[in-house]
Assembly symmetry: C2
Homo-oligomer: 208 residues x 2
DNA sequence: GACATATGTCACCTGTCGGTGATATAAGCA
DNA sequence: TGCTTATATCACCGACAGGTGACATATGTC
C-alpha cells in the first residue's frame, strides 16, 4: 500500500483514480472508521490537498467512489444468472432462487456489507448512493417478476421481509458466529436458514 | 446540559452515577460516534480523570453502564405482559404475540437500536453485554414456550428469521422512511409488516 | 526561449483525542 | 485542633483530525 517516493504521476485522471481506489481499499481494510482525509491520502500515497482540489473534499471523493463499484447485485444476479430461465419458473421457485442468490450476492461483497452496516449509523454520500441503487434495483426486479397479484398475498412485503432477514443475518455474520442459536459461521448453518426460508415459501405460496 | 460551576459533589457513588448516566444521554444524543472520554466527562460536568479513577477507563465505564439498563425486552415483555395467558395460547397466536411485542419493545428503545446498529460495526464492552443478555434471554424464552417439536418445522430458525427481519426493519426506520417499497415511517406501514408476518405464521404453523 | 497553468509537495493552523502527574480541597478521625 | 485520605480540578503531553496558504516543479503554448 501507499506509494514509495517515486516521481509523482502528474496526471489528474490517474491520480484521481488512485484516490478513488484508495477509498475502496481503506474501507475494506479498516472499515468506515478509518475513512478520513488524512488516511485516504496516506493510503493513496498522495497529498491530501488533492482531495480538496479534485473532489472538493471527502464527501465528493466518496460520491465519486460510489459511482464506480457494483455495490449491489444486478437484476441478473438476483435472478440466478439466467433471466429467461428464471422468468419461466413457477412463483415459489422464483422466490427460492432469489433468496439463495441474494445470500450469495451479499456473501461475496464484503464492501457492500460494510456499507450496509454503515448506513444504519450515519447517512452519507456513499450510503445514500447505495440506498438509491438498491431501491431502484429492487423495484425493477420486483415489477419484472413478481408484479401480478397472487391470491391476496402481499408479495412485496413478503419478499422484503425475507430480504431484511437475510441482510441482517449476513451482516451479523461478520461479527458473531451464533445468533439466537443459529450458526452463522458455517455452510451447514446457512443451509438451515435457506431451508426455513424455502419452507416458508412453499407453505405461503399457493401452488398453481 | 453539563453541570454548571457549582461546588463539586464529593461523593463517589453520586459522581459515578452521573458519569454512567452521561454515557446514556450522550449515546442517545450523538450516537456512539460522540462517545469518548472527553465528551462523556464534558456531558457529566466532571473531570475526565475520574473516568480512569473510578472505572479504569472508558471501557469500564461502558461496562458499568451496560449493567444498569434494561436494554433488552424481558421474557415477560416478549410474551405480551401476561405469562400465564401467553402460555395458554396456541402456537400460532404465541408467535404472533411475540412478533407484535418484539416490534413494540424495540420501537420504544432508541438506545437499544443504536447499540444494535453499533454492534454491526465494532464489537465492544457495551455491545458484548447486549449480545450476552440477548442470547440468554432469547434462549430462555424459546425453551420456555417453543420447546416442543412441531411437525418437523424448524421453529427456532423460523423465530430467529422473523426476529432478524423485524430487527433490521426497526433499526432501518431510524434512518430511512421507505425500504423496498415498505413504509417504515407510519403505523400503516407497520400494520402491513405485521400482517405479512401473521400471514406467514398462519400458513406455516400446522393448526392443532 | 519565456511564460502561464496544471499538478503536486510542504509547512502550518486550530481543534480534539486519550491519557497522566501535580495540586487543591473537603470529609473523617484522633 | 491537626492529620490522613478520598474526592475532584487543573495543566499539560503527544498524536492525529480536518483544513488552508505558500511554494516547487513539470507540461504545454506561443
Amino acid at each position: 500500500m501507499a506509494a514509495k517516493k517515486q516521481p509523482p504521476v502528474r496526471d489528474r485522471q490517474i491520480t484521481s483514480r488512485i484516490l478513488i481506489s484508495a477509498v475502496g481499499s481503506l474501507l475494506a481494510k479498516k472499515g468506515f472508521k478509518g475513512l478520513g482525509v488524512n488516511a485516504v491520502a496516506r493510503e493513496a500515497g498522495v497529498d491530501k490537498v488533492l482531495i480538496y482540489r479534485y473532489f472538493d473534499g471527502l464527501p465528493g471523493l466518496i460520491a465519486a467512489f460510489a459511482q464506480q463499484e457494483d455495490f449491489w447485485p444486478s437484476t441478473l444476479e438476483m435472478a440466478g444468472g439466467d433471466l429467461a430461465r428464471f422468468s419461466g419458473l413457477p412463483l415459489d421457485e422464483k422466490l427460492s432462487m432469489f433468496a439463495a442468490s441474494f445470500i450469495q450476492a451479499l456473501k461475496k461483497r464484503p464492501l457492500t456489507r460494510a456499507i450496509m452496516a454503515w448506513e444504519m449509523i450515519e447517512p452519507n454520500e456513499l450510503t445514500e448512493e447505495l440506498e438509491r441503487v438498491r431501491e431502484e434495483s429492487i423495484m425493477t426486479f420486483f415489477q419484472m417478476f413478481f408484479a401480478k397479484d397472487h391470491a391476496g398475498i402481499d408479495l412485496q412485503a413478503l419478499v422484503m421481509l425475507v430480504g431484511a432477514a437475510l441482510s441482517y443475518l449476513v451482516i451479523r455474520s461478520d461479527n458473531i458466529d451464533v445468533y439466537g442459536g443459529l450458526d452463522l459461521a458455517t455452510d451447514q448453518g446457512w443451509e438451515r436458514i435457506s431451508s426455513v426460508v424455502n419452507m416458508v415459501i412453499q407453505r405461503v405460496i399457493p401452488q398453481e
